[in-house]
């Protein structure tokens, strides 16, 4: 078996704030093979985005602290690379797309130039060749009339088109890994489906690995090979997508799946919710971080950190009182 494309090992990213240290990502490990799709799910503030930005090294320098861990990408530890070397990784090796296509494009630059700029940064294409390639890319992500659109500004395009352009920019240099941070959250449902479809098609075509950050379990079911569930800066359960959806073990994952509305339920039924609030990450609970909200809490959940147990070869979870396998 060959080494995985990306191996994240005990990654910790902390923020030094005036009133304490916020442990946004606190000991996360996972691996991702080339061409596979990993979904990272979790509620707002669980550290998904910080995890993504830690991998690509895009954290606000002033407060963010690399508290430990390794990010092995194709054998190199990205955390040890100097910024200048990281710039060679971002783009041709790892690219990232963001949640809001309204703000991820420069409002005062034509979309064509934004693609050309990335191409010129990482390849030695001539200006003319880069422009031709930009039009090709726009065509590839399904922009109608790409030649004309390349000369336009982002504000003349719809949300879906802008996200397509963002994807075109990200794919300009054929990255081996694409990190998509909630790529469809800001879009309406039909456009979401189109964008996901596009991502999957391009992923197959370019044999690219994908990390998909989302809080939408429907997107996970649709897109992912594997899923990691994050809660309060940790991965509490990870498994192939079928196992997570059908046989969740960790109580948080279980509760999360329970809270998905079921279309067969009568419409007056109240939606099940997880009571309480996610913990304060400056002073997280000592034991299991989900314990204060958990309906199946045992005494040791408050005091001890549950270790990662294995349900099967690829299914790991951290829970003292897991949901039974059915």
């Amino acid at each position: 078996m060959t080494a995985p494309l990306l191996e994240v090992d005990d990654l910790r990213t902390h923020f030094h704030l005036p009133h304490g240290t916020l442990r946004a990502v606190d000991g996360v490990s996972f691996t991702l093979d080339a061409g596979r799709t990993l979904g990272i799910v979790g509620e707002s503030g669980s550290g998904k985005s910080v995890l993504a930005r830690s991998i690509i090294g895009l954290l606000p320098m002033a407060q963010a602290h690399k508290a430990g861990g390794r990010v092995l990408f194709a054998g190199r530890d990205l955390r040890q690379l100097p910024e200048s070397a990281m710039r060679q990784v971002r783009g041709p090796q790892i690219a990232m797309i963001f949640q809001d296509p309204l703000t991820s494009l420069n409002p005062v630059m034509t979309v064509g130039r934004q693609i050309v700029q990335v191409l010129r940064q990482h390849t030695d294409l001539s200006a003319t060749a880069a422009r031709a390639r930009a039009v090709e890319l726009l065509n590839e992500v399904g922009i109608p009339d790409p030649k004309q659109r390349a000369g336009e500004y982002a504000h003349r395009m719809s949300g879906g088109m802008r996200q397509r352009i963002v994807i075109a920019i990200a794919l300009a240099c054929n990255p081996r890994l694409l990190i998509a941070d909630e790529p469809t959250t800001a879009l309406d449902v039909t456009v979401q489906a189109q964008i996901l479809d596009l991502l999957r098609r391009l992923q197959d075509k370019h044999a690219m690995a994908l990390i998909l950050i989302t809080h939408n379990l429907g997107v996970v079911a649709e897109m992912c090979d594997d899923v990691a569930v994050m809660y309060a800066g940790r991965i509490v359960e990870q498994a192939p997508v079928g196992d997570i959806l059908d046989r969740p073990r960790m109580r948080y994952t279980h509760a999360l799946l329970q809270s998905v509305p079921d279309i067969d339920n009568p419409s007056h039924m109240r939606l099940p919710v997880i009571p309480g609030q996610p913990p304060n990450l400056i002073a997280p609970p000592v034991g299991c971080r989900f314990a204060p909200r958990c309906g199946f809490r045992q005494d040791r959940c408050d005091t001890d950190m549950p270790p990662q147990s294995e349900a099967s070869a690829h299914h790991r979870f951290a829970c003292f009182n897991p949901a039974p396998e059915h």
Binding site: I56, L58, P60, M61, A62, S84, R87, Q88, V89, R90, G91, P92, A95, M96, I97, F98, Q99, D100, T103, S104, L105, N106, P107, V108, M109, Q117, V118, Q121, H122, H155, V166, I169, A170, A172, C173
Partner: protein, 271 residues
């Protein structure tokens, strides 16, 4: 394309006229601004001397358009200096944050705490070319506000995702600032710069009125007003024309500045 208001068109026309007259003052068929004629002391305006003559019989029209050369040199120079240095410092502060920002802000606050007039007087007291000194002094006075505006806007745009996205595509700091941030900042900074040109023109007139700007015999508007004010009742034209020209010019600059500001705001809300 929005239509221009008549006030803006008139302002532009006026500024162009004054600028043209100023630039070509040396070649225009006007009297020598320093040629005295005791026979025509305080002569009222006539067809020969449109603005009349001053207490030494010098042609006020000629002196006014020559005086505008200093006005424009100082106001444009100081505003440009504030734009370049203040803008660069502000962008660095807003972009790099941390100790860079703290250091720059301390410097800015020290400058702000200094009374501007004292600063200018101290600067002018140094030996050297008066014009350069006045430009530098006003430029220093104008810099803090420009630094703060540049910093504030950089902070706003650095937080926008397109900057992170560009960084995620492997762009370095220099490219990011020049390609991504600067085009977004330029309109706001230029609009404020235009305002500084107007303030600078007024400030230069004030300084030369106090005798702190370029010394005689070079005519400057403030110095003309200062030397002729004693005769203001007898011969108001010698004070009134330079003052009126200055007023109209600053008024026009402000109207245009306001229009530029309005268009930037309109564009921001449309985007």
């Amino acid at each position: 394309m929005r239509r221009y208001r008549p006030s803006v068109v008139l302002s532009l026309a006026w500024l162009l006229l004054v600028a043209a007259a100023t630039l070509t003052a040396a070649w225009l068929p006007v009297a020598d601004p320093n040629k005295q004629s005791l026979l025509s002391m305080l002569a009222p305006p006539d067809l020969q001397r449109w603005f009349g003559a001053d207490s030494l019989g010098r042609d006020v029209f000629s002196r006014t358009i020559h005086g505008f050369r200093i006005t424009f040199a100082v106001s444009l120079g100081a505003a440009a200096m504030a734009l370049v240095f203040g803008g660069a410092l502000g962008i660095c502060a807003g972009y790099f944050r941390g100790w860079v920002e703290r250091t720059i802000l301390i410097g800015v606050n020290v400058l702000l705490a200094f009374p501007p007039l004292v600063l200018v007087i101290a600067m002018v007291a140094y030996p050297g070319d008066a014009l350069i000194k006045v430009i530098i002094a006003l430029g220093i006075v104008f810099m803090p506000a420009m630094t703060r505006i540049a910093r504030a806007n950089t902070l706003v745009f650095s937080e926008r995702e397109f900057v992170t996205a560009a960084r995620a595509a492997g762009m370095g700091n220099a490219r990011l600032i020049v390609r991504e941030l600067l085009p977004n900042l330029v309109p706001t900074l230029l609009a404020y710069c235009l305002l500084l040109v107007a303030i600078g023109a007024l400030a230069e007139a004030g300084l030369s009125y106090l005798g702190l700007s370029v010394p005689p015999p070079t005519p400057t508007l403030g110095q003309m007003m200062a030397s002729e004010q004693a005769n203001a009742l007898e011969a108001p034209h010698a004070v009134f024309f330079p003052a009126g020209m200055l007023f109209l010019t600053i008024f026009a600059l402000n109207l245009i500045g306001e229009e530029v500001q309005r268009r930037i705001d309109g564009r921001a809300s449309a985007a």
